[in-house]
């Protein structure tokens, strides 16, 4: 049984149809890349998986480990192991990064019936990852993402992922706005979190990211559905030929 199963998903926002019968399976431990042109529904898929309420699902289902998550609030999905690394992480003024991480982790653990992580354990988990990602103690003391550069915000997303240890990580255009050095740091952070127990959905417009996060499988999204699936070489083919070949056929 796949860990994530998206079945014939139809989604609208403000009356506009974005996903149009999307079907997708991601196995446990698999890294699946989702590629597609602008407007193909990549970010919508990410938001719908995380439970953003502006989107209306009109048909279909999303199963996580065999269980439908569509009726669950975003926090319940997070407790089940869903994590979304945002394309545009928001600034949260007045909430210190450490407080935020600890509140989130303890809320998830509580929802799962686990005890709170002890302070030394928590600190160790944060510090280890932060140092790999080049996140300073000073950044951890600051309010979440406030005054962070684009690259710092993306690294902070990966830090959160490392602390929360999700079962399904959805990375929404994590490469956007990053220069090559920042991209390597972020990709390295993601690769360190690859595990047989963790599935990943890596959404990207460009093949470049997939040089660093090498996917097990590539799906091409166009006009709200998966139009082609293949191995990692599919990404290279898309890089060479572009998306034009898919633009017409899903209409």
């Amino acid at each position: 049984m796949p860990f994530l199963e998206v079945r014939n998903l139809h989604v609208e926002i403000e009356g506009k149809k974005i996903l149009n019968g999307l079907t997708l399976s991601v196995e446990k431990g698999q890294v699946a890349a989702i590629m597609g042109p602008n407007g193909s529904g990549k970010s919508t898929l990410a938001y719908v998986l995380a439970g953003k309420d502006e989107y209306t699902v009109t048909e279909g289902d999303v199963l996580l480990d065999g269980e439908s998550i569509l009726e669950m609030a975003p926090d319940e999905r997070a407790a089940k192991g869903v994590f979304l690394a945002f394309q545009y992480p928001v600034e949260v003024p007045g909430v210190a990064t450490m407080t935020f991480l600890r509140t989130a982790l303890n809320a998830q653990r509580k929802a799962r019936g686990e005890g709170e992580l002890s302070t030394p354990e928590f600190m160790k988990r944060v510090r280890d990852t932060a140092s790999h990602l080049g996140i300073s103690q000073e950044m951890l003391r600051r309010a979440v993402n406030v005054g962070f550069s684009g690259g710092e915000k993306k690294r902070n997303e990966i830090l959160q992922m490392a602390v929360l240890q999700p079962k399904l990580a959805v990375l929404d255009e994590t490469d956007s706005g990053l220069d090559i050095d920042a991209l390597k740091v972020v990709a390295d952070g993601v690769n360190r979190l690859r595990s047989p127990d963790r599935s990943m959905v890596v959404i990207t417009h460009y093949q470049r990211l997939l040089n660093y996060i090498v996917p097990d499988v590539v799906h091409v999204l166009a006009k709200g559905r998966v139009v082609k699936s293949g191995g990692k070489e599919l990404a290279l083919e898309l890089e060479a030929k572009g998306y034009a070949q898919f633009q017409g056929e899903a209409a």
Binding site: A50, G51, K52, D53, E54, A73, P74, D75, R77, A78, A79, F83, L84, F86, P89, V90, V92, P93, G94, V95, F100, T103, A104, L105, A107, Q108, A111, A143, Q160, L164
Partner: protein, 431 residues
């Protein structure tokens, strides 16, 4: 023929008239004080209670909100306790039912700090009623009825390390009115941190009209925090009349969580060059609470900086008001004055009014204002929830952060922590 146009007096105005007539000769202070009372009462009598057609009181129609005037409070019969915020250590000066009650407090005057009853203080050193705002009708009512209070003086160069608290307490069971009047004088190059707190029981519709005269000398540094923890049925108007000398620092903060109808008024005047002033505020409202923060800041000397930063959280059908007026007088060049007021509306029925006014008569100045009112940012809430934080907790975190950003501006660590704790308490009671 002349026909005098005069509004019919409301029951509250009639009661205030009768109370003044009956109490006039019994109220403390003779001579100049009695003359001051009489002139103040005449101002009130001519104007009546302020109402919505008076611009400064547009949102707080006292004629409508104050249906009756409660009888003047009697002195407290038995000694009681002054409520205090947890963790807030300060030398307390208790003003109980409008009068200074030494035995209720634990303040000890030390080197550089003098304390006396407001009516016992040597009037040759200080004349009451000469601070800005003394013509205001609410301030005039306080002057007419002032019952007691203290004069706290910090002498030149004295640095008072521990905070001093002037704690106002209503200790009656039946509703009554109290009119405390205090004076704080901080002489040149002295330093003081002081708190003014307002406390009273829930369920009693007592009334408070307090006034504080604060005089800050050249080069002095004053941190002043007002904590409004009134009972839920209380009506309170508090006026601060403030003059600041040159090169001085004034940091004011107004925290309001209690009371049914509250108006905090600040009339400030910067009289010497190079002064830095900030006034912050955090207001937490629920039910049908009505809280009005009204500030009139006059830059009478050049080269002064003033900042106003107010934040209000509104639940249910509450009503929050911020009125800020900045006046820059003709010769006050190089003035740098800014104000900002932000309201977080947690209910569709809550109302926030922001009214900034700038009156600028000098040409080389920087003045600005900003105001916002809005609900909790959905994108922020989704971000927090996507990390596993349940909706109520996410909202609480965001509200706490919103208020916290205002409270963080308080320099004194234990006052800051106490208010952050009080705000967290308010949030957890929100349910």
């Amino acid at each position: 023929m002349n026909a005098e146009v005069r509004a019919i007096k409301t029951p509250a105005e009639q009661a205030l008239n009768a109370a003044y007539t009956a109490a006039r000769t019994m109220l403390p202070g003779k001579g100049a004080i009695a003359d001051l009372r009489e002139a103040a009462f005449q101002r009130f009598d001519a104007a009546g209670l302020p109402h919505r057609r008076i611009e400064e009181w547009k949102y707080t129609d006292l004629r409508a909100l104050m249906r009756e005037a409660k009888p003047l409070a009697e002195p407290a019969k038995a000694k009681g306790k002054v409520p205090a915020l947890p963790g807030l250590a300060a030398g307390r000066i208790a003003i109980v039912n409008g009068r200074y009650e030494q035995a209720w407090g634990d303040f000890r005057a030390g080197p550089g700090v003098e304390l006396s009853d407001v009516f016992a203080a040597d009037q040759r050193n200080y004349r009451l009623g000469e601070v800005p705002g003394s013509d205001d009708i609410a301030f005039s009512l306080n002057t007419a009825f002032m019952m007691g209070g203290v004069v706290l003086r910090v002498t030149k160069d004295a640095k008072v390390a521990a905070p001093v608290e002037i704690a106002h307490v209503f200790a009656g069971e039946a509703a009554a009115a109290m009119y405390p009047r205090s004076v704080v004088i901080v002489e040149p190059d002295a330093r003081l941190t002081f708190i003014e707190s307002f406390n009273g029981p829930a369920g009693v519709d007592y009334q408070v009209n307090s006034a504080l005269e604060l005089v800050i000398g050249d080069g002095a540094h004053v941190d002043h925090v007002m904590i409004g923890n009134d009972g839920d049925a209380a009506l309170r108007i508090s006026t601060l009349g403030l003059t600041v000398g040159a090169r001085a620092t004034y940091n004011g903060f107004i925290y309001t969580a209690g009371g049914a109808v509250i108006r905090n008024q600040v009339f400030a005047r910067f009289e010497g060059e190079g002064t830095q002033a900030s006034i912050g505020g955090a207001t937490l409202l629920k039910g049908r609470q009505h809280v009005d923060n009204t500030l009139v800041i006059s830059h009478a000397a050049g080269g002064c900086t003033s900042r106003e930063r107010f934040r209000t959280v509104l639940e249910d059908e509450s009503h929050g008001i911020f009125q800020g007026k900045i006046i820059v007088e003709p010769h006050a060049q190089k003035t740098d004055a800014k104000m900002a007021s932000h309201a977080l509306l947690l209910s569709d029925e809550a109302e926030a009014d922001n009214k900034p006014e700038l009156e600028i008569f000098a040409d080389d100045v920087q003045c600005g204002h900003g105001a916002t009112a809005g609900a909790i940012d959905r994108a922020l809430k989704f971000y927090l929830m996507s990390r596993g934080i349940p909706e109520k907790e996410a909202e609480a975190l965001l509200i706490q952060a919103f208020v916290g950003e205002a409270i963080e501006g308080i320099a004194h660590v234990s006052i800051r922590e106490a208010l952050l704790g009080a705000a967290a308490q308010w949030l957890s009671a929100r349910g």
